[in-house]
Amino acid sequence: IGIGVVIRIIVCRSSNPSDWSELSEFLLCASGDLVKVFSTSTEECVHVLEGHTGQVTGVILNPTNHLQVYSCSADGTIRLWDFIDGILIKIFVCGWPIFSIYVSEKHVGIAFITIHMEKNFQLVALHLPKVPEQEVEAREMSAVLCNISSNPGSTAMGRGGEYVASVMGRQLTVYFFKKLKTYRFSLKATDKKGAKNAFTCVACHPKDDCIATGHEDGKIRLWRNFNQKKEYTYSTQHWHHDAVGTLCFTTEGMHLLSGGVESVLVQWHCEEVNKKDFLPRLGGAISHICVSPDGQMYSTSHLDNKINIIHCSLKLSAVIQGLVKGNIWTDLMIDPRTRALVMNGRPGHLQFYSLQQDKQLYSLDIVQQEYINQEGLDQFEVMRAAFSVGGTWLATVEERGRCTSDLESSLKLWVYNEKAQSFELNTTITAAHQDRIMHMCFSPSTETTMLVTTAWDNQFKVWLLGLDSDTQKEHASWSCDYVGSYHGLQPTNCCFSSDGSLLAVSFKEVVTIWSSDTWELLTTLCQPPGPIRELCFGRLSCSKYLLGTTAKNLFCWNLLTCSLEWSTPMDVCLLRSDPLSENVVAFSLHSGNTDLFVFRPSEPRPLFTQKAVCGGKVQRCVFSPREEPLDSCDERFQWLNRSRLYFLTELMELLTFSTKAEDERILNSRKQLLVDDSVAVTPFYLLLGKHRQQQEEKQNSGVSQAADRVQPPQASVAIKELLHTPAHVLPAASFLCSMFVNSLLISNTGSRYGSLRFC
């Protein structure tokens, strides 16, 4: 096996147009350059349609065959997929980057796409040639509308493809295909009341000649009689307080759905104009709404990488949540219990994201206040967070009023409750410091629970879990133990040595070392040019070394001699140590690209170097311990054996390093997820199927196995009986259960008949 390090992008999903399959069983969603097929009942990702080389911009069902789906991408191709099996059927190469795609029943063999041509966006009809080859050049196109918006929501096909409506600025354009006529309707820039009349989105009624448009001031206009130049009419509805984000008619045209920044799904009744239903607090701003073909399900996709699946009676039925990518203020952290990645999630929340399953585990509400979905409002945000070594304690800092002078902040300490399996608030300290808290860390020693915070008010504070009164052990809370400062300088970083006996706090150019038992200043270290940016102790055998970076240099001090061990001129922007080994990783920005160095503090020679890991600055990074250590023999990659390195780039992409062998294994495991569609995909089935497969492998080890397909279980009579008998004839499940479980046991063979063994 050839070993090489590849950088694997693990999470780069963004909320994109989604579409429903025929039976509202699957939801299709564009995610980066992939199209994902989700099961609506289990929220699991069933298939990943891979193939596009650019961002997928649109997904739409084939109107003539509802088991097929068109997807268009910025790489200039339209692909036709069979999404049930995850098979690519056809590739139509158009040559232009495509921004959106529309199809209709009346225009068979034609796809309407938005492309950038002659300095504006145009809607063109692309003829999809019918040829047997898989990859086809599709060059035959005719312009339909010029000068339209590139936003997919601002163009819509009406009444099964009789006309197309598009909005741009303050103009609505309707084009009738039969009459080949274009009608344009304009609104005034503003009226007396100061309304902002610019269009934001459009939707067409599926059965009626009616167009709904959303506006920047939150109004919704319903247009009728738009096949006349003068006698057109419109009625206005106003509920949204901000711009209408998206509009959608239900399949039968009974209701109009709208959503926007408020994160409220509004269901307007088309017959009774004033009647509307709401579904509030869905998540981030609603970016897209779509309705399943049978009208049973709605789905809303949100800006915070979330898709809600809603039953038509406005009941939330499923949530598909990806990694929330907003502003990241906290460090990347690994929850020691679940090994989940922890960072800022929804506003005021911390998200726990499982990297193994690529799925959000849960989101912890830190602020515990109602989030007001309104732009420009200064609300509490989680700014810092830190875990104690065992994961029992979590400290968070939330702040408000960063821009204005009156800063409100509070330090919260959370304890993990084994019974509830989640974190519970233990102590809230309002205004823990007089200014912003810069950095905080827990002491790694197991005897005491200690937290150190450094802040802009030129102080660092030590917080201890108080167990003073013997009668009140259950209400143990945190209190300040020591306040330290150094010549009125501003502390920046703090770091505990690996045994917790020393605390290093950097004050501008000076690093101070404190004894954590007596809070005595032991020594100061200083290397003048420039303030200290990052500070970190070595681990394990290198725990006597302290690393620090300035804008120009990387220093390594030996704390036994209190002298500088070595230094190199290097602009390090990020420094992290691996908790399981001596390795330290440093990211350095060099001419627009970031280089990566892995080294041990004991020697100034890097173990591994990777130039130009990514463009731009690396924001955050974290070492995540592996579940089972890798045994790579190549010296260059031994630093990856114990833990994995994740880092976040400027474009908020989360990247990691993995060896080629590992990559292949991941691909294989993904293939195993593709299961036979005759049986419903449940986690139970996956478990069972795997088990069956292993059993079969044992039986006919000579026969090569097809890796991608799992054979449906058929060997056992009991299972067959269970699966093929109608449910109403079957005896009670409790009766069947023991029989069923017995059938799964590996039967004893004659050779070990005497010995009792349980598998």
């Binding site: 509030p280 809600n308 109602e370 300290i429």
Partner: protein, 506 residues
């Protein structure tokens, strides 16, 4: 879909003592009953046998009170000068007391006349006590001697003059009839063994000893004197276990509660303090004047305290039955079964279960905030009951409105009356609760103007106070810095709660 999150009401933790089980236990006493004596009450002791009468020594009289009577059951008035140290025998039938004249008299609790009279001390006898065999009496006197007397013959058995100053405290061992402890104004506590014929152990208290006390196990000895209460471990040869300095005047008396041997001390500073097993003060009783004597009845039913102004203050424990009565009165609300009606129903095997969403109960102001009715929410928060009883809720709603950026909207278009209530509320709470940054649109009204001026004055005063506090902090910092010249100390650790409510503390 997440549910609406109600407004978080921030409660400021109360400074001072926290409510513990001990506090509740020691608070559970009725108001004290006061009995006027002729002079300072120097000694109180409870009879070890029920009904636990107690003997009170004050002036020339020795009086025995019943546990519930305010009138003395029996009075002994045989002394010509002040009597001291009235004390029961272990069976509660005999009583011994010393006097200013140097006489020691022995009484039968049933009779009136002195049965015995021990003469020999040349100066006042301040402490007397029976040894645990009941046949001998020990006494400590100002003539520097402590003596043991035989009750049957009325003769002196032993006399020790090892102390170099007045003996004012003594305690006899309950387990060994030959051991007793004396405390003296020569700053020492001595343990005497009659068999040896002298002191076997000497402990330096460091201050004139006012009282000594043995724990029932007799491994620990408590001595009080000066402002200190010291506990000694007798099994370790009189090693000092702990030294407590919780009073700010001389500690005159100490006793143990009978339920779990809590230590109680009374002092001239008018306080009785209760310590827990780790010698932390868990409760504090305040009295009108300096305390000279203190006793606790068995089962902690009664605490009797004697004071310098001759007042005997008796506290009785509240009965448990009274508590139940209170509970009975409260039972006006619907019964518990009303709330669980139908909720504990377990569905049968073939029942079809239709689940109903539980409706979230919200406070009125939360309901209004949920509907973005900010002005109404502020009105609700300023309702009279809430304003007076739960001002923190009002403040929380105001903070929430400020966070939502709608405080201006909520305050707009208010009339004089509602603004007056609002301003009055602010004036009342601006210093104690968190101050809210408020912007107020005003109509022209003299009332409002006056209130605003008062508010401004208050804020000005607060600013001045803060400045003074900072100055004090600076002074303290320099003091601390000069105290520890070698270490680099940056001032005391200020707990975070203190900062929020410095004003309260000030």
């Amino acid at each position: 879909m997440a549910s609406f999150k109600p407004v978080k009401v921030q409660t400021i933790p109360k400074l001072g003592e926290r409510v513990t089980e001990d506090t509740l236990y020691w608070k559970n006493y009725k108001a004290p009953v006061q009995i006027k004596e002729f002079a300072a009450v120097t000694k109180i002791e409870f009879s070890p046998l029920p009904p636990h009468n107690y003997v009170v020594t004050a002036s020339t009289r020795i009086q025995v009170y019943g546990p519930h009577s305010l009138e003395p059951v029996r009075t002994f008035t045989r002394f010509h000068d002040a009597a001291y140290g009235g004390s029961f025998r272990g069976d509660g039938k005999l009583l011994v007391a010393g006097s200013e004249e140097g006489l020691i008299r022995l009484f039968d609790t049933g009779g009136r006349v002195a049965l015995r009279q021990f003469t020999g001390h040349s100066k006042a006898v301040h402490v007397t006590s029976f040894l645990s065999d009941g046949y001998r009496v020990l006494s400590g006197s100002d003539d520097l001697s402590s003596r043991v007397w035989d009750v049957a013959s009325g003769t002196e058995l032993n006399s020790y003059t090892e102390h170099t100053d007045y003996i004012r405290a003594a305690a006899a061992s309950k387990l060994n009839p030959d051991l007793y402890v004396t405390g003296s104004y020569d700053h020492t506590v001595k343990l005497f063994d009659v068999r040896v014929g002298g002191s076997v152990m000497t402990m330096q208290h460091g201050h004139p000893v006012e009282s000594v006390l043995l724990y029932p196990s007799e491994a620990l000895l408590v001595s009080t004197g000066g402002r200190y209460v010291k506990v000694w471990d007798l099994l370790k040869g009189g090693q000092q276990l702990v030294s407590l300095k919780n009073h700010h005047k001389t500690v005159t008396c100490a006793c143990l509660s009978t339920t779990d041997n809590k230590l109680l001390t009374g002092s001239l500073d008018r306080h009785v303090k209760v310590y827990n097993s780790s010698y932390k003060v868990v409760h504090n009783f305040d009295y009108a004047t300096s305390i000279l004597s203190l006793a606790v009845a068995p089962d902690d039913k009664v605490i009797a305290v004697g004071m310098t102004n001759g007042v005997l203050s008796v506290r009785h424990r509240k009965h448990t039955e009274e508590k139940q009565e209170v509970l009975g009165k409260r039972r006006r609300n619907p019964a518990y079964r009303v709330f669980i009606k139908g909720k504990n129903y377990v569905p049968k095997q073939d029942d079809f279960l239709v689940s109903k969403t539980v409706k979230q109960h919200l406070q009125k102001h939360d309901r209004q905030l949920k509907c973005f009715q900010v002005s109404k929410a502020l009105d609700t928060a300023l309702e009279i009951w809430r304003r007076f009883h739960k001002p923190e809720v009002t403040v929380a709603v105001m903070t929430e409105l400020n966070r939502r950026g709608t405080l201006k909207n909520a305050l707009a278009g208010r009339d004089e009356q509602s603004l007056t209530t609002l301003l009055n509320f602010l004036i009342k709470y601006v210093l104690t609760l968190l101050n809210v940054a408020l912007m107020i649109r005003l109509g022209d009204s003299p009332v409002i103007e006056r209130l605003l001026q008062r508010l401004m004055e208050l804020l000005g005063r607060e600013a001045e106070l803060q400045q003074e506090l900072l100055q004090v902090l600076g002074i303290l910092d320099t003091l601390f810095a000069s105290l520890t010249p070698r270490k680099e100390v940056t001032g005391p650790a200020v707990p975070p709660i203190m900062q929020g409510s410095q004003l309260q503390a000030a």
